[in-house]
Subunit: 277 residues, 2 copies
């Protein structure tokens, strides 16, 4: 394997406005340019960043979802990635052959790279989107092997195990985290603990870009996070209510070393596949 370069990640925590993709794409572009100015080479945006989150009718989904990569939201991000020479992962509402997915797209200087469709739908999303049907793809790029997961996907350890087994080095997580039942707002979000555990147990970098604000009565919790492959935060958690851009430098080339915990233990090699497959 060619030596992997280091890469600067950015997570953009922002507040979309429901139902106004043009305004949202303007806001995303503004923050992507800022992240690029700060040296970012891979920029992650929240779930459903173009449409907003709280759909109330199938008509709204039909009006706001757009094809990937040929719809206006995807095309605008692809053009921006080309112009700036950066990689971008963003959550987007996707229309495909008459149905709709809660999706994420990866694009870069070379154009569209790939899409992911959220496997685990949360709550009333099930009324407006189809469950993902593209599995958990990993895309080999010049900056590393990149996987994507969206919000509630992170509640399932298999998400990260499967991406890691497929070679993922950096998992980008566009998300719209909501408060969990019994969450004490004064303590670390369960979402943060779940992703720390996933980064640590798999030896992968994880970049979670959450939104903030309250939409149609639904609050979101911020606390975006960029995690080292040891599970410790490299940047964040971001504030709970304010917009923010997190920046951290990661070294996909260092993963083999990080996964070797000591002379005897490798976090992936120690799996007892004879017991649990």
């Amino acid at each position: 394997m060619a030596e992997r370069p280091d890469i600067t990640l950015a997570c953009i925590q922002y507040e979309p406005l429901f139902g106004d993709p043009d305004r949202n794409l303007d806001a995303m572009e503004d923050r992507i340019r800022t992240a690029h100015d700060r040296g970012a080479g891979l920029i992650v945006l929240p779930e459903l960043a173009d449409s907003g989150y709280v759909f109330e009718s199938p008509e709204e989904t039909a009006r706001l979802a757009r094809p990937i990569p040929d719809g206006e939201s995807a095309a605008r991000l692809i053009a921006l990635a080309w112009e700036l020479g950066v990689y971008i992962v963003s959550g987007l509402a996707e229309a495909a052959e008459g149905v709709f997915y809660n999706s994420a797209m990866l694009c870069g200087p070379e154009g569209f790279i790939g899409a992911y469709r959220k496997l685990h739908l949360w709550n009333r999303e099930t009324l407006f989107f189809k469950p993902g049907n593209l599995g958990l793809p990993v895309f080999d790029t010049p900056i590393g092997r990149i996987g994507m997961a969206i919000c509630y996907d992170g509640w399932f350890p298999e998400t990260f195990r499967t991406l890691t087994a497929a070679g993922a080095e950096i998992v980008c997580v566009p998300t719209n985290w909501v408060p969990m039942p019994d969450q004490d707002p004064g303590v670390e979000a369960m979402a943060n603990a779940l992703h720390k555990a996933a980064a640590h147990s798999n030896g992968i970098y994880i970049a979670c870009a959450d939104r903030v604000g309250t939409e149609r009565g639904q609050p979101f919790i911020g606390q975006s996070l960029i995690l080292d492959a040891t599970g410790w935060p490299l940047a964040g958690p971001a504030p709970r209510t304010d917009e923010a851009i997190l920046i951290a430098r990661v070294s996909p080339g260092a993963l083999a070393e990080k996964r070797q915990l000591n002379e005897f233990n490798n976090i992936l090699g120690d799996r007892r596949t004879d017991v649990y497959g």
Copy 2:
């Protein structure tokens, strides 16, 4: 299924003395009686609670490891469980047919119930113990279905997935957590985050009993923890250096309700077995 009674758990965080099982069993008995006096019906003790942890030669293992259930350590705990009418899970150094395991035993008022042998050995343990060969058993008792895991087992999400799939309601974790690389001593231990994530993602109660103190230069980190099936602490984390007894009441009968996160989502039912088996 008959209605499950509530049960009071105790985690005993204590400091064994290496190589002195008689002294350690006296100390364990003292703390088990205290936990019983405080209402505990299921009492969890640390990993290798009878022997201590930092073995330096095979001769030490041979001298200190004892059969389960017929050796002196196991027999003494079984007698105590019968006398007090409680369930006990303890880590023990096990001798079996000329080899040695880092094991845990479950016993109760009805006597010996079962043993577990640590699947994932940590660091120099590999020099003194064989990897576990009993899988991840779950024992159906009048107080609930109980699984066991030991220390580094908890670094593998499959441990808890497998126990949950086998019906575990309460997972008891005898442990000797050591500082992880890059651990900032001022922040929550990664071990705590890993078990919070496991309890939350599986909808199971988890009771981690750690040791404290420094043995032959190896520090241990305390921070024992009893977790609700939502992942939030019911008791602990205990102090980092002092002995402690954690007490919490749990309701195995409430697990079905806790696993149903809302009208649409069940933390176990939502798994995409079509994607990741």
